[in-house]
Amino acid sequence: MTSIFEPVLADLGERQRDEILAAFAAVEHSPEPVPEAVAAGLRDATLRRSVAEMLHLIGRTLVRAGPGQWTSGYRDDVAERLTADGGNPLPLADRAVLTLVLIHSVAIPRTEGTLSGDSWVDGTPTPIEELQRRTQLPRGELRQSLGRLRAAGLVRVVPARLRPGTVPQNTAYLPGPQFHRLTETARRRLQEELILAAGPDTPLAAAIRRRRAPAAEKETS
């Protein structure tokens, strides 16, 4: 079968092709990052390079999601082009709910100093009641959005942590495994977008805007 990937695979032996294709399949389809151990195509730097080239052809890139862990994500230039015209395949309402989950489960615990590490996937689960209580978003829509976000792996459900003196909660939400797929650039940009939105008048927001100022400005100064 001649495929879009022939330029990468053409000169390789059968075995190498298989290993590269398997590694490609693993990072593209596994919702969680793939340990190098399960795929020779990820362990071996040369094969891994071919996997990255395959991904590049279809607008994707290899993302390192921890020591010896790999997944794939959108190329930064592709993500930029895809959203350049203001369009976004994820409905606005779902994006709004996802932002809420990021604030309650990651940003606020960060401020309170209760998180270690530097990951978008770890956080303090936010019970659905708390998401509903502290927002302008309509309740019914919020629940429906959470269902869709969950199906897409953008949020995940964990049993709510029991706190002494509180009524046990039903379900609680954390960012889902799709956040492993963000490139380093995208993860950093996500942090910046949240700060720009929640604290536009803070020095941090000003610093972010300065960093983003066109490179031309830096050259003249």
Binding site: L90, R181, Q191, G199, T202
Partner: protein, 404 residues
Amino acid sequence: MTDDGLVQQGLDDLAGEAAVLRVYRQAFAVLAREAEKMILSPQLLDVDEAILSAFAASGSDGLTEEQVRNACRAFPEPTVSRRFEVLKGYGAVTKVFERPNERYYRAAFAPYIMLLFLRRIAERGGQSELHQLLSLEHESVSAATATDADGRASVERLTQVFRLIANELSIMSLGADVVQLRENAQLLWGNEALIRRAEKVHATVLERWPSLDRECQWLRAGLAAYRDAIDAAAARLIERAGTTRALGLLPAEEWRTFARTADTERLGAVLDGFVFDAPAPWFDPQVMTEAVETGGRPDTARMPPPRPVGDADPTETSPATDQDTIRATVEDLLATRDFVEVNEVLRMAPDWAAARRLLAQLTAAHHDPALPYALTWAEGLDVAEAASPAWVTPGRLTRTETQP
């Protein structure tokens, strides 16, 4: 230490107390003569507070040392006695009447106020206190009775304050680790409002006493340094805070307000520039066949308990296929042969449901890499009017390796 482990505390409390202690040490370092008199454990602050509270509740008679110990019996007695001595030594607690054998003591209110301020400064980073200080300075330089000496003193105090903050920020942005950065991020908050207030003091002083031009110039330089330090610190923080840690540099209240007040558009806009994957589950025809196969069984016709609409149902597990059962079934069908025709097998089944189950087992046998069977199909229908099922596709199940 004797009061170790005395009070079971959550992490949050500990962090809060550490902050109070830090401010306490900073605030009292300038007064303390002897290191041993400085509070080094957050619990001791609670002891001080308990002692002062006991006096507040005691009325005008005051308290004996024994009554104080009794009121503070939640804490270890030696600790209470030690703190009582320290408070006495600094004059925070004094005898009601200055005479020998006087057993009753009273407390000054100032130390308690100081404690309250400490806790507030620890919580809010001293921002509101600084705002209040600036208001007071502005009031004092605006007063009709103020002299140029007042103006000079005021401007000089503010210059020192801003230079100190600027230095602290600069040093922090150069060397601090992430935890320290987060603890001190409060220094970055509300800076524009602070600068505006300081500029008001500056303008008033310069207008009333033009001769203080030189002092005012220093204040302007101090403010500019503060502004630069803020910019540099914020830039460094953003640069080295990784991919989520800078989130911790915004006050929690700022996050909560945004989450509470922003509408769908503003919240959603945060993710405008991000692309995520649409859900793309794969449906393996073999798995579908198994799901259909197990469909009629009573155990899967679960009645979920009532729950709110749209809430997550517990995830079902895939039907387990028992390799041994499949192997036994297939071997029965094959007997001693190496292959068997599928229509022959299916026509033996009493009804279509049974045929369906048999077929599922054959297909499972084919798809299980651990089992030595292959299922091959020819296209076309084989119709037998009287039989059940009435039609089947010609197919053949083959054993791909010899049985041991």
